[in-house]
Symmetry: C2
């Protein structure tokens, strides 16, 4: 008898009817002979409503108290889900993150999991019960205070519990059938990927595909825990995220060269114009940005014009951090002595990801040619072993996705009738 | 520097504005030089909404899970209250019942407090912080599961914490100015009582006055913890509930003969007509009712009519348990051999309570004469050392309250402009 960990997001438990549907699904998994542990997010918009309430009493709520408040969301969904399962004649017991042994550091709002000691979960399973665990939360090892894990926290809770319990699989449910070769809202011929490596999934997630959070994939990769990404609205197999050597196990002789196309419209580009081309100038710029806790993504430094010895430095960053970065750079103007700053939030990033890329030369060229044929202008380029990303005008993101998808022959003949959504927390 | 424990009910923290108002009040208490511990109920109708949600997925929600669900209510109110206090520039830390060391038995929905180990509260106070504690909840000593204390649970949490922390006083806030000599909605001249003994308060509560729950008064009495019942909407002194010998400390030479008039419209009366007047028959009747877990209150057995050797047995009980009791008695008809059952839910109970009663003869007579003069017919009578109660027709309850209030000269000259409300959980 194997252990299956299932994670249901907020949209899967948005109301009483959805909760009953999920309860039936969980009971079916149990009846199929598995020991079942379920990680659940807060119902629908509960988290947003709690944040609104907090903001009504304080413009900047204390982080410790905000965590205490938000964890009420999962407490509600997990208890109600357990009741719904009990009502189907199967024993279910709900556990908070703390009760489930999710031990974290003390960084409220973005705590990291330090250890998982799931003694009470194991006891529940040994008693034949289904264990329901609150996602997104834990308890600080040092302060004993309740913490939340931040974005992707529920997925990470599920993977961490699966690892600690030595589960066979961690199933992540959402309203999407799996990971697609591109966003089906942009490319209707996008194909559901059957198997994908941790590394490719990390690149897809980092490059804007919203199906799984980086953190949870990193955790799964570190401990080699297979993730099955699937829809709570269908019985179909979804996408298996596994280690690279297992991707091709099922008959295929070689990994696909390109697995998918990801895109991201959440970024902005800042260009520092006319930076003196001498040692330490670029460092000063990025030190200032880093000190402001800005996460920069791609960086391009132009070759300096010989006549002036001035160069331009461009980088991309999340749009929400744009103004903070501009202010930080503004303060540097006197010391670094650049000419001006340009801010552009009408950019998008399109990436091709594939483990086969490293052994297939000419991939970048084929990608760039396809973009050129589609009339898409490339503003910046960055690459990794298994990814090529370009920054383009936001208005050209969709053309670029379709051009890349076609160039690498990723499409299926059927058009998938799915909504490509994001996971919550 | 003394420790003050304050308890705010759901109506005092119904929305963000109320919470901010309560936060200011708490900060004032702190600024006055006290260490402050606050026990808080769930906001407004939160508990009812959570119960509705539970009933949407299960007609009979599992008790363990219902407790898990309901405790989300205080989690929300306590965290938001702590944020509001932090926003006023004072440190506040919220604690669940479990974190506050409220250890209970494992009876979900009506757990009893076994022990209070408030180490984390003491640490917070030592750090100069205000501690906010979830009322109504604890953690089971044996199962480590989250429990709720049932009705009156938040008041009891406050008193139990006050005792464990050796606080100077436990202040119970509601929307009422204190304990009144009668319900001001019935008797506009009802007077706020300045001091009242634990014993009188117990009798008042048991006889239907809704200001404090029996449980919390019993706890306070056992450990001699003074309770100050007051309104969160005014700065006025409320009613002090203290030990009998402290009631008269402030100048008054003797305890008032009668402290107040309580009434209760929640009861029904069952009469078993024509019971054979021989040993064991009444016992069989009350055994049947007790086995059905019915709480009976007053009992009257008529003198049997000599001609028939049959007697009538009447008792009162909560209306909600009426049908269960009637069914239990119906099954006895063959064995006990009574003639018929009568059920009357149009009754009410009116009681006079006063510690001075035991040393003042003629109190009952004065009470009964006043009722008679007001045209009120007495159906049943019961008495204790410090109380006389009568059952009357429900339509005559208000007349009876006013007649008793006037007979013992309880009124003030001013008419109090208050709403006489009940406490929540």
């Amino acid at each position: 008898m194997g252990i299956v960990v299932q994670k249901y997001g907020g949209s899967s438990v948005a109301d009483a009817e959805s909760i009953k549907r999920v309860a039936r699904r969980i009971v079916e998994t149990k009846k199929a002979g598995n020991q079942v542990v379920v990680v659940v997010s807060a119902m629908g918009d509960t988290t947003d409503e709690l944040i609104d309430l907090a903001n009504e009493v304080s413009p900047l709520p204390a982080a410790r108290e905000l965590d205490m408040l938000l964890t009420a969301g999962e407490r509600i969904s997990m208890a109600v889900l357990a009741m719904a399962i009990n009502d189907l004649g199967h024993e279910a017991r709900s556990f908070t993150g703390s009760q489930a042994g999710v031990i974290t550091d003390a960084e409220h709002g973005r705590a990291k999991i330090i250890d998982v000691t799931p003694g009470r979960i194991e006891a529940a399973l040994a008693d034949g019960a289904i264990a329901i665990v609150a996602g997104f939360q834990g308890v600080s090892q040092t302060t004993k205070d309740i913490t939340t894990l931040g974005r992707g926290g529920s997925d990470t809770t599920a993977v961490a519990l699966a690892v600690a319990l030595r589960a066979d699989v961690c199933e992540i449910y959402s309203d999407v059938d799996g990971i697609f070769s591109a966003d089906p809202r942009i490319e209707p011929r996008a194909r559901k990927v059957d198997r994908i490596s941790y590394e490719e999934t990390l690149e897809m997630a980092a490059q804007g595909a919203k199906i799984l959070h980086l953190r949870c994939v990193e955790y799964a990769r570190r401990y080699d825990m297979p993730i099955h990404v699937r829809s709570s609205f269908s019985e179909k197999e979804g996408t298996w995220v596994v280690k690279a050597e297992d991707v091709t196990k099922d008959g295929t002789m070689e990994a696909a060269i390109i697995t998918g196309v990801a895109h991201d419209r959440s970024q902005a580009k800042i260009t520092v114009v006319g930076v003196p081309d001498k040692p330490g100038e670029a460092a000063a710029i990025f030190r200032a940005v880093a000190d402001a806790a800005i996460n920069i993504d791609m960086i391009v430094q132009n070759v300096s014009a010989a006549a002036t010895s001035l160069t331009d430095v461009s980088f991309t960053l999340p749009r929400g951090e744009g103004q903070t970065a501009m202010s930080a750079l503004d303060k540097l103007k006197a010391t670094v002595g650049y000419e001006s700053l340009q801010y552009d939030d009408s950019v998008g990033k399109v990436s091709i990801v594939g483990a086969g890329m490293s052994s297939s030369p000419g991939i970048s060229a084929r990608f760039f040619e396809a973009l050129s044929d589609a009339g898409v202008n490339i503003e910046m380029i960055s690459t990794s072993e298994i990814r090529v990303s370009v920054v383009v005008a936001e208005s050209q993101v969709e053309d670029a996705v379709r051009a890349a998808h076609a160039a690498f022959d990723l499409g299926s003949d059927e058009v998938e009738a799915v909504v490509y959504g994001g996971t919550g927390r």
